[in-house]
């Protein structure tokens, strides 16, 4: 059972968001950034653009705290790893600090070497995640998001799951969602976030 990550005010919190190009990782990072800004934290979000958007492995770094200098998160530094895809979760495990929290979507998206049969999609990745982080939350966020009315709300489900491990309360998250998420999908997004949040508390 993971403990709520109570953080000293001075130390920056590092959240690594990983996934596959086009999954909505950028919006998730902006949402965290918004919540942190509203709280008065210094915030840095480092994005990837360009070639990585073409179905490649993508990573976004979010850091907030009293003072943030480098926007990068280095191996062993991430307090929270939010993974939109299972293989990507496993790929970025070395970036998690000891005692850090993993929140992962159980969805699998085959990379090209697997598609062509040159490699196999590894089995048992959820177990690998739990080996590294006992309380890893591995959830079928795509199904939950679809049930909430928008398959693209996977990012909201995952943020809902991760919310408990951050400094921000539910109200702050809702404020950030209203401020950052596209208005037309707002209700589905709020439902999706709520489902994730409830699951993390269950």
């Amino acid at each position: 059972m993971p403990a709520t990550a109570a953080m000293p005010a001075a130390a920056a919190i590092s959240i690594l968001i990983v996934g596959v190009g086009g999954q909505g990782t950028l919006l998730a990072s902006r949402l965290i950034g918004r919540a942190a800004t509203e709280r008065g934290f210094d915030v840095k979000v480092s994005e990837v653009h360009g070639m990585s958007q073409r179905g490649g492995s993508v990573v976004t770094y979010v850091k907030y705290g009293g003072e943030v200098s480098s926007p990068l998160i280095e191996p062993g530094e991430a307090d929270i790893l939010i993974a939109f895809e299972l293989l990507e979760a496993a790929r970025w495990i070395p970036y998690l600090r000891p005692g850090g929290q993993i929140v992962a979507n159980s969805q699998k998206i085959d990379p090209m070497p697997v598609i062509t049969g040159a490699a196999r999609y590894p089995d048992g990745l959820a177990e690998v995640l739990r080996e590294k982080c006992e309380g890893a939350l591995v959830v079928d966020a795509l199904t939950i998001a679809t049930e909430c009315g928008n398959a693209r709300s996977v990012n909201m489900v995952l943020l809902g799951l991760a919310a408990r491990f951050t400094a921000f309360g539910e109200d702050e998250w809702m404020g950030a969602i209203r401020a950052v998420a596209p208005p037309k999908a707002l209700e589905a997004n709020i439902r999706a976030f709520g489902r994730g949040y409830a699951l993390s508390m269950a």
Binding site: A10, R30, T37, G40, F41, D42, V43, K44, V45, S46, E47, V48, H49, G50, M51, S52, Q53, R54, G55, G56, S57, V59, G66, E67, S69, S70, P71, L72, P75, L86, L87, A90, R91, W92, I93, P94, Y95, S106, Q107, K108, I109, D110, P111, M112, I115, T116, A119, R120, Y121, P122, L125, A126, G135, A136, V138, V139, D140, L142, T143, A151
Partner: protein
């Protein structure tokens, strides 16, 4: 705010009225964001040279102008830059160049600071979005005060990181009166010789400015402290940041601090300027994003350092660097890529180390800096290990590295030899791929099938080099495909030319392929050129170009007719085909490569990500009919996968382009009313699986 957004905001606040660019990662968003300000005229130029020329014209005409590009774009724009250095400006002219250490999306990682050195133009280097905003505004002031274009150099991590900024209102910049001035703006030898003298005088004045400007400042980070030592209120422009903890920051503009009594604490000592007495703390000379790494490294390691942060990296302040270095046991120069500051510091007589500890390739990191700061690691013989340089795409060195983006033109198998923990070593990599529905896919399928030599170019289609398409021999720079193919023709003769094609996108062709094709025709070449016209500049995220019929603000405009353009260049054999007519495309390529004269095949089909894209019927693979010949796999579509010998179409990824239907000889790929049945993705493993 994104660093690039902050640059655009700065242009707005500085009263800029003309902003030009050719898109290129990581610089593209600068001009996209600028286009959101109605007060700024913005345009995508066909290439960076034209973009800079337009900005120069605007500046001479009395308007503040900004031109943005990626590092390799400055190679294209170098010609006007070098002479604009001579003419100087009327209203401010700022060239924003985004370098790409680590080559996240580039074919090289050249260091643009040398352009400033070579063209005798000042270079500013911001370290976050706040400084992007402040420095670009300062750049306009410097440009006008010193009658020079000014380069603002970003790096990927500055351009593509979001951090807090403080915005202010726009200060309109009224047009300066236009006056014809032949001696200043007509660079014939007689006038240019005199202007060169002015350039040299200007550089001396800028050197003096570098010694006193607040852009170059000294900061103290005390030993054992998690944040900077609090002392004298910083005097740097735009000092105040959001967040109260910023009070802990201590940045003192060197020039002013020397007037302060050196009483309060060690910072005063650091300003004493060359006095040798009690050992001064480790000194670090740095700039840009490296400065952020140094601060973080100092905080995490608890090692006390004093930092000379250089915001103006050309010209550099020799005296300030000398006095900062004097009397210290250790002075490190921390910079990514080339030893630009380090060489200058050493030449100026400062005792310093830099590339002895840090790699000249790739990005740095706070950890790499911390290792260099720690005395035990001082003599580390393998500095490159500490950088991020061996981690393409920001990947951990322990991971199976992603194949380098094909745009770099070096898709070598890599990283296999690195030590890897067991469970990580087995993970399959996830290289970027052509999107489902991509119109380029079938072109590379055909070129591979025909076993042709393919001279490639820069764009999404460079991914055609990746397996299993595996259909590209060269990729050098924007527009190079045609010239390279022509060179191969001239070196190896018509028989080889008959097995060689050049492949270039529509935007790249208009950028700098036109002159290459002109050369082929003029010099009696035999090359076959495929122009892949997807009707957009794709790789950088869908920017308009002169071939699309729309401007940066999506206003309708005239459109270059590629067929007529090629005809005008003297090409007699021009065909237009739909690349999804695979047989027709193959026949066209066979026919044109067999001709002993220049030919152009325009493979025209819009990008599948455009709003105008019309998907066809959903399809699935009928396992009963599938012969498992895997011909459908040869088009390298991410939506078609081999699940233990069973071919499947992932309905969630499928763009319904219909290409795979044409690949299957057994009629096993069939339209389905309910595509959901084919979706086997995303339903496996875990479920709601928390304990």
């Amino acid at each position: 705010m994104l660093g690039n957004e902050a640059v655009a905001r700065a242009a707005y606040e500085a009263g800029v009225t003309v902003a030009t660019a050719y898109p290129g990662t990581p610089s593209t968003e600068i001009t996209e964001c600028a286009a959101k300000y109605g007060e700024i005229y913005c345009e995508w130029a066909p290439n960076e040279k034209v973009a800079l020329e337009v900005a120069i014209g605007a500046s001479i005409a009395g308007a503040r102008a900004m031109c943005a590009m990626k590092h390799v774009g400055l190679n294209v724009a170098a010609d006007p830059l070098f002479t604009a250095s001579y003419t100087g400006v009327c209203a401010g002219l700022v060239v924003v160049v985004a370098d790409d250490p680590g080559q996240h999306s580039s074919q090289n990682e050249q260091d643009s600071r040398y352009y400033g050195l070579s063209a005798k133009v000042p270079v500013l280097e911001p370290s976050d979005s706040r400084e992007c905003l402040g420095f670009v505004k300062s750049a306009f002031e410097i440009s006008e005060a010193y009658d020079t274009p000014v380069i603002v150099r970003l790096t990927t991590r500055v351009a593509h990181s979001r951090s807090l900024v403080e915005v202010s209102d726009r200060r309109p910049f009224p047009l300066k009166p236009y006056a014809k001035n032949m001696a200043k703006y007509v660079m014939m030898p007689a006038m240019a010789k005199r202007r060169h003298i002015e350039v040299e005088k200007r550089m001396r004045r800028l050197e003096a400015y570098a010694e006193t400007t607040e852009l170059n400042s000294v900061e103290s980070r005390a030993a054992g402290s998690q944040t900077g030592e609090s002392c004298v209120a910083g005097s740097c422009a735009a000092e105040s940041r959001a967040g109260e903890s910023r009070a802990a920051e201590n940045r003192v503009a060197g020039s002013r601090a020397e007037e302060r009594p050196a009483a309060e604490n060690q910072t005063g000592e650091s300003q004493a300027g060359g006095s040798v007495g009690a050992a001064r703390p480790i000194g670090v000379i740095t700039s840009g994003m490296s400065w952020q790494y140094v601060r973080e490294a100092a905080a995490s390691s608890g090692i006390g350092v004093e930092i000379l942060k250089l915001g103006l990296v050309h010209p550099l302040p020799a005296e300030k660097i000398r006095s900062f270095a004097a009397g210290r046991e250790r002075v490190l120069v921390v910079e990514e890529l080339a030893p630009f500051i380090e060489d200058f510091a050493k030449k100026s007589g400062a005792q310093a180390v830099g590339k002895e500890l840090f790699p000249a390739v790739g990005e740095l990191s706070a950890r790499a800096v911390a290792e260099a700061l720690a005395p035990a690691k001082r003599a580390s013989p393998q500095p490159a290990q500490s950088g991020r340089s061996q981690s393409p795409n920001g990947q951990d060195a322990q991971l199976p590295a992603e194949p380098q983006p094909a745009q770099s033109g070096r898709a070598e198998p890599q990283a296999a030899e690195r030590p890897q923990p067991l469970e990580q070593a087995a993970l399959p990599s996830r290289p970027p791929v052509l999107c489902p529905g991509c119109p380029h896919r079938s072109v590379f399928y055909v070129l591979r099938k025909l076993k042709l030599n393919v001279c490639g170019d820069i764009g999404c289609y460079t991914l055609g080099a990746m397996p299993p398409l595996d259909a590209m021999d060269t990729c050098i720079c924007m527009g190079a495909s045609i010239g390279v193919a022509h060179g191969m023709d001239k070196a190896r003769g018509p028989e080889f030319a008959g097995r060689t094609v050049a492949v270039i996108g529509d935007s790249t062709f208009l950028h700098s392929g036109v002159t290459g094709l002109m050369d082929v025709v003029y010099n009696k070449g035999n090359s076959t050129v495929l122009i892949l016209d997807n009707s957009i500049t794709g790789m950088t995220g869908h920017q308009q170009n002169p071939g699309t019929g729309y401007t940066i603000r999506s206003e309708e405009t005239s459109r270059v007719d590629l067929e007529k353009l090629c005809e005008a260049l003297g090409v007699r054999r021009i065909r237009t085909v739909d690349p999804f007519d695979v047989k027709g495309l193959e026949a066209a390529v066979r026919a044109e490569t067999a001709q002993a004269e220049p030919s152009v095949i325009i493979a025209r089909r819009p990008c599948a990500l455009l709003k105008t894209y019309r998907p066809q019927e959903a399809v699935f693979i009928d396992a009963g009919k599938c012969a498992r010949c895997k011909r459908c796999m040869a088009i390298s579509c991410a939506a078609i996968s081999d699940r233990d010998g069973r071919m499947e179409i992932n309905a969630a990824l499928c763009a319904r382009c219909g290409l795979c239907l044409k690949m299957c000889a057994f009629g096993a790929i069939r339209p389905c009313a309910e595509a959901a049945g084919a979706d086997a993705e995303g339903k496996s493993e875990g479920g709601r699986s928390r304990e």
